[in-house]
């Protein structure tokens, strides 16, 4: 080689002073880095904003206002025959219990000497949640001996009054509100001053089932949590192994020909299929053809499995592709079979990608409503499903469904509950992904 190549060499610049070109490159470097940091910051800020709105909006769902009053269980109304015959007792409807609660509250107001101008009977009867009468009825049916006694009852108050203590309802808005009145709120304040009414931590939000539109205060996510749990069980058990197995076959074993190209394109295309179409498929394949029941977590789980598979497959294949061939060669060279080289060496190295696919796929599956719409899981379900495996075939709701339903309801109290359900959903998601996140950290390495 001639010396010509070397003639470009410049007089030695100092390392401490950057030449213009270096300065330009360093500026580009700094910009690039700043973009990266900016991107992370933007994502974080967005996350914080969204979480902030969710949490401020939903934290109220975990607190609820209760009223404690003595209830006189009037035998004349509850057991006309006086023989405590369970069959007769069952004929007494919740409406009657509602009246009893109203009378008891009127009595309590009179006893405590609470006097409020313009307080109507409707204000008094509406103060107590409609849920309370059902609870009281169940209590009496369980123990008919209570009839005739005066018992202490802890009952929910209606959503507006509850909202008053959470800042959602004010005296001004109450004046315009057909479902409450300033007088009712004053009554609540008076009861609160007497220590009968208090806003407390509300476990029942996590354990009770949904409630109808007239009882936002009683609605909970119990069944939705169970339903989501069941579905996620199905998804986890099916989609991760199937997805990983499919990726392994396609990436490591399948001959590279037009046929596998078709499969490859097909799978990425499945990712682009709107989720509701998976609902159409689920309805056709699992319910109409397969004969599985409506509204059942098993069907939801299967549909969500099909929906998550492409995500997991795409992530897994990309991760498998990224493992350097020399590692496969090394294993084959000592007489490992292809299968062994994949399962012993390639798969562990592809683990982070697989776990990421799982995390993202499950996040998607957990939050999806549209496909559930068609297989009957967007539903009002009041009875708890039993434990798996039978419970998988019984009607249940799901967390995103609960959110979707509640955001559509007329009573604004449901909005708070929807946000509360979103908090539960996110906590659920984090718990579910925690293991994956930890595992991923363990498997991450450079080579």
């Amino acid at each position: 080689m001639s010396d010509a190549t070397l003639q470009g060499a410049q007089p030695r610049p100092s390392l401490l002073v950057a030449d213009p070109r270096t300065r330009k490159r360093n500026a580009a470097e700094a910009r690039f880095r700043a973009y990266g940091l900016g991107a992370i910051l933007v994502s974080m800020v967005m996350l914080v904003i969204l979480l902030f709105t969710i949490i401020t909006g939903g934290i109220g769902a975990f607190r609820q206002t209760y009223l404690e009053i003595p209830v006189a269980l009037d035998a004349a109304q509850l057991d006309k025959n006086g023989n405590r015959d369970p069959d007769d007792l069952r004929k007494v409807l919740t409406l009657t219990y509602g009246k009893i609660l109203e009378q008891s509250l009127q009595q309590a107001i009179a006893d405590k000497g609470i006097a409020i101008a313009e307080l109507s009977d409707k204000d008094v009867s509406n103060l107590i949640s409609k849920e309370a009468s059902a609870q009281l009825r169940n209590r009496v049916l369980a123990d008919p001996e209570l009839i005739g006694q005066t018992v202490e009852a802890r009952v929910l108050v209606n959503g507006r009054v509850d909202g008053y203590y959470k800042g959602r309802v004010s005296m001004e808005s109450a004046a315009r509100d057909a479902n409450t009145s300033p007088a009712q709120l004053q009554l609540a304040d008076a009861l609160k001053a007497q220590g009968m009414l208090a806003t407390q931590w509300n476990w029942s939000f996590l354990t009770s089932p949904d409630a109808s539109d007239q009882r936002p205060e009683a609605a909970g996510v119990g069944i939705a949590i169970l339903g989501s749990l069941y579905m996620m069980l199905v998804v986890l058990v099916l989609s991760v192994p199937i997805g990983v197995a499919a990726s392994i076959y396609l990436e490591e074993f399948a001959p590279k020909n037009r046929w596998t190209d078709i499969i490859e394109v097909n799978i990425s295309n499945l990712a682009a299929v709107p989720s509701i179409v998976f609902g159409i498929l689920g309805l056709a394949a699992f319910i109409n053809f397969g004969g599985l029941p409506q509204s059942a977590p098993i069907v939801g789980g299967l549909v969500l499995t099909l929906m998550t598979l492409p995500t997991i497959i795409i992530a897994t294949r990309a991760a498998l592709k990224a493992v350097p061939p020399s590692i496969r060669d090394a294993a084959l060279g000592v007489g490992a079979s292809k299968m062994q080289s994949v399962f012993h060496h390639v798969l562990p190295l592809a683990m982070p990608g697989i776990l990421t696919g799982t995390i993202i796929g499950l996040a998607q599956a957990l939050g999806e409503t549209a496909p559930l719409l068609l297989i009957g899981m967007v539903a009002f379900v009041k009875n708890y499903p039993s434990a798996p495996p039978d419970g998988l075939f019984e009607p249940a709701s799901a967390l995103p469904v609960q959110v979707y339903n509640w955001t559509q309801r007329a009573d604004p109290a449901f909005i708070e509950r929807a946000s509360g359900a979103i908090i539960v959903l996110l906590v659920f998601l984090l718990c579910m992904n925690l293991l994956a996140i930890l595992l991923r950290r363990k498997f991450e390495r450079r080579w």
Binding site: P293, G376, D390, A410
Partner: protein, 322 residues
């Protein structure tokens, strides 16, 4: 899997709240399990309903419109031959705007002139030139026209088009001009065509979306169900139509013009196999629930003046004429 012991209901999202109120009360007051009530739209509900007979098909379809003949045919083809139709009451449709805004007293003609794609000005058909309500009628407030109307997926849209826009078209006399100009069919269609320049906004979501949109665009006027309005009277101000304020009473009395009937359909072949099915249907239309004093009315359902006839029909298990 074991035999199904709970009733499966599916269909209209308009009927959904009433259905859940009844289902909940049914579960509380009887020994039957609480029925499972799905939403998903009248059409989807009926489609599932007509999928066939058997354990993994639904028992009841809610609908915010009567079942169509073609659907009955499809049902029959799949073996669903005996369908009971139950009308539960009426859904009132109201116009409401932000509580802090102007008062509105509309006539259907106002709505036609505000939202139609083409209106008649000085006897000529022109693309809708109105930008403010006061352009239409001086008594209306000086406020930008901005309406949130149900999207074309909603049955409410059909009612809105027929009972408000088309009625307004007739009332204002525009119908004659349009029909004269475009012919009978075209003219009728033109009567119901809404403008697409952003003054009339379709809402494919539900009423909560409409409410949210009004709260972020305070000069908007939205179309709501009566029950939704009644739950949000602190945020919304309702407009009168032809001087009548909407309420369950005025609608039941036939004074307020914009309403539609609500139904549910029972698969009679399931009575006897699905426990409590008939009891549920009867419970639904009982006076305690669907009557004017019942919880459904309290929630905003316009009670059916002919409820007694419906009760009798349910008791008799009367099916639709084939």
């Amino acid at each position: 899997a074991t035999a199904r012991d709970q009733i499966q209901v599916s269909g209209s999202s308009t009927v959904l709240p009433y259905s859940t109120i009844v289902a909940e009360a049914f579960g509380e007051n009887t020994d039957f399990p609480t029925p499972v009530v799905e939403s998903g739209g009248s059409s989807a509900g009926l489609k599932k309903f007509c999928e066939g007979v058997g354990e993994n098909t639904i028992d009841i379809a809610n609908a915010s419109r009567p079942i169509k003949d073609s659907e009955i045919e499809a049902c029959k083809a799949a073996g669903v031959t005996e369908i009971m139709e139950v009308r539960i009451g009426y859904d009132g449709i109201v116009f409401a705007s932000d509580i802090a805004g102007n008062d509105f007293a509309f006539t259907p003609a106002d709505w036609f002139n505000a939202l139609a794609a083409e209106v008649v000005v000085d006897g000529k058909v022109v693309p809708n030139p109105h930008t403010k309500w006061s352009d239409i009628r001086a008594e209306l407030p000086d406020q930008e026209i901005l309406a949130f109307v149900p999207g074309t997926k909603h049955g409410t849209r059909e009612v809105f088009e027929e009972k408000v826009i088309a009625a307004g078209c007739e009332e204002s006399g525009a119908a004659e001009v349009l029909k004269a100009e475009k012919g009978e069919d075209e003219g009728e269609a033109a009567c119901m065509a809404l403008r697409t320049d952003g003054k009339s906004i379709d809402i494919d979501g539900d009423y909560t979306e409409t409410l949210a949109r009004i709260q972020s665009a305070k000069n908007g006027i939205g179309v709501f169900g009566l029950s939704f309005y009644e739950n949000n009277t602190d945020k919304l101000k309702v407009a009168t139509i032809a001087g009548v304020t909407p309420s369950t009473e005025t609608i039941a009395a036939g004074e307020y013009p914009v309403s539609r009937p609500l139904f549910f359909y029972v698969k009679k072949q399931h009575i006897g196999t699905v426990p409590g099915l008939k009891e549920f249907a009867e419970f639904f239309v009982s006076d305690e629930l669907a009557g004017p004093e019942g919880p459904l009315a309290a929630y905003g359902l316009v009670a059916d003046p002919e409820l007694a006839a419906t009760q009798a029909a349910v008791a008799d298990e009367a099916t639709l004429a084939q």
